[in-house]
């Protein structure tokens, strides 16, 4: 609670390399979950994190990564459900939090699954 921003930064540093270098076999794809995740992403996230000008979340990530990682979340190769969940629940910097009364745990898991699963994006 003392310093969420620092905690999230730590989560980011720890998770990003692990996620991108994971070697374990890909789990079975739950297409229904991914479709649901896509719908929820478009509803809750895309107004800020969509492609093109006028999307403040994408703009913030462009500045943060300076091209080292894609600014559009759907293009990111290294996201995991836990990573997505931490930012959605707590927010970071300019990004607001989202409570479970807005996006419940099941919906958050679907969004996390969608953003972590590159092929169908």
């Amino acid at each position: 609670m003392k310093n969420i921003t620092s905690s999230l930064a730590l989560v980011f540093m720890l998770l990003a390399p692990l996620a991108s270098s994971a070697q374990s076999p890909a789990p079975a794809v739950d297409e229904t979950l991914l479709r649901r995740g896509n719908e929820l992403y478009q509803y809750w996230c895309a107004t800020c994190h969509g492609r093109g000008p006028g999307h403040p979340g994408t703009q913030a990530l462009e500045t943060r990564y300076g091209g080292a990682l894609p600014a559009v979340l759907e293009d990111r190769p290294n996201l995991t459900p836990d990573f997505v969940g931490a930012f959605v629940r707590n927010g970071i910097s300019i990004m607001p939090f989202f409570r479970k009364t807005e996006i419940n745990d099941e919906e958050l898991a679907a969004i996390g699954a969608y953003l972590s699963h590159t092929p169908i994006k």
Binding site: T47, G54, P56, A60, S93, I94, R99
Partner: protein, 514 residues
Amino acid sequence: MASKYIALPKGVSEKDFDAAIVKFREILGNDSVLTSAEQLAPYTKTMMPVSDAEHTLSAALLATTVEQIQKIVAVCNQYKVPIWTISTGKNLGYGSAAPAERGQVVLDLKRMNRILEVDKDLAFALVEPGVTYQQLYDYIKEHKLGLWLSMPAPTAIAGPVGNTLDRGVGYTPYGEQFLFACGMEVVLANGEVLRTGMGSMPNSNTWQVFKWGYGPYLDGIFTQSNYGIVTKFGFWLMPAPPAFKPFAIQYQHEEDIVEIVETIRPLRISGVIPNAVVIAHALYEAPVTAKRSDYVSGPGSIPDEAVHRIMKDHKLGIWNVYAALYGTQEQIDVNWKIVMEAFLRSGKAKILTEEEVAEDAAFTYRAKLMCGEMTLTEFSLYNWRGGGGSMWFAPVSQARGSETLKQMALTKQILAKYGLDYSGEFIVGMRDMHHIVDVLYDKTDPEQVKAAYQCFDELLTEFSARGYGTYRVNTAFMDKVAETYGPVQRNIHKTLKKALDPNGILAPGKSGIR
């Protein structure tokens, strides 16, 4: 011994709070009473320049029915536990979802999200507090109702109940949103349920069409207040017009605000331009496409020379007027001629039609706001400094050019003293202007946090000394603003509070009322 709670309400023992929590769980179930640090984290992040610890809640209650709320207030009265009610909890820049005071319990009504009625013919809606603008927008589209919403810039994730109760403004002809509110259901501190206006009469079907009822009009006392918990809210919607013509007008000099306001006022009062027009400074619009770091580095506010480079690079005026015409094409053609003649008279204005700036990202989001379309583009402002610090400074001005120039100059001067930029706009009301300035700072930089706090405090002090009142403020400065309106109003607010909520359980501190 360390408490099992991350905070406790002021004056409430842990033993009593334990007992209250047990009763809350009996009412709501275990899963809907949150007390752990992890569960409560999303309620604690604010954008204000104070420690989040000052606004840390003790628990969150996730209610879904009026009956549950009635039982919750009974428990609160028994144990003197204060509750801070939120709807969508997205009052960003004004306090977000966090309570006014450390230890208050947040009553989260986001799950009360039923759209109870939308009447196509009479053009009204009745909704619960958790309904978002996006949800209502989708409902109207799905049912092909042909009605438009008026909403603030954070459209998709905020909602009409919370925004209107805090007297937020939008950008359509229904932009002064509380003017279009019609009927509320309110749970009072004693557990009684009041329906305001015509809603008090059994079998009435005019609750959402006639605002005044009989006797003193009560709806106003449930806005920006803590006299009850609004559980249903009625408001009018604008029928989609046959034609809509958004346009922009640019001016190149800050002093031109005088001409702009003097030109717009008669057009607005007479209804030629019917919507809540925006006069946005270049630094309010620039963040949509520009990065501050491309123009300036180091401490201090951005120099005028850099602002002029931004204007050139991003095709902005120093003032950017966004307005629209509504009606049939014939009505629009007539009014467009009047608008053109008025603005072109001095030779200073550059008028841009939708056809000329359709691809411009700033124009696009402004046009969306003026016709009730969802967008979050204005949040680009938060990228200007980064770091998640924002407070809305919101003084009211007469719609008179000389006054707006004075307010702009004073604001800019005080912001510059603290190294902050003037990201301001004027939203034109019927005869007033909401002067809205986003005081942006980096919340991860302790020096900027300190400067932002002192700056905001000085803005309030200096403006009130000149008779300029603030219409809305974040939860860290509510007492200060309440003080500026004088002791008589404050005493009346307190008298009402004592009468309606003798134990002070409902949102103590809201608008400085306890």
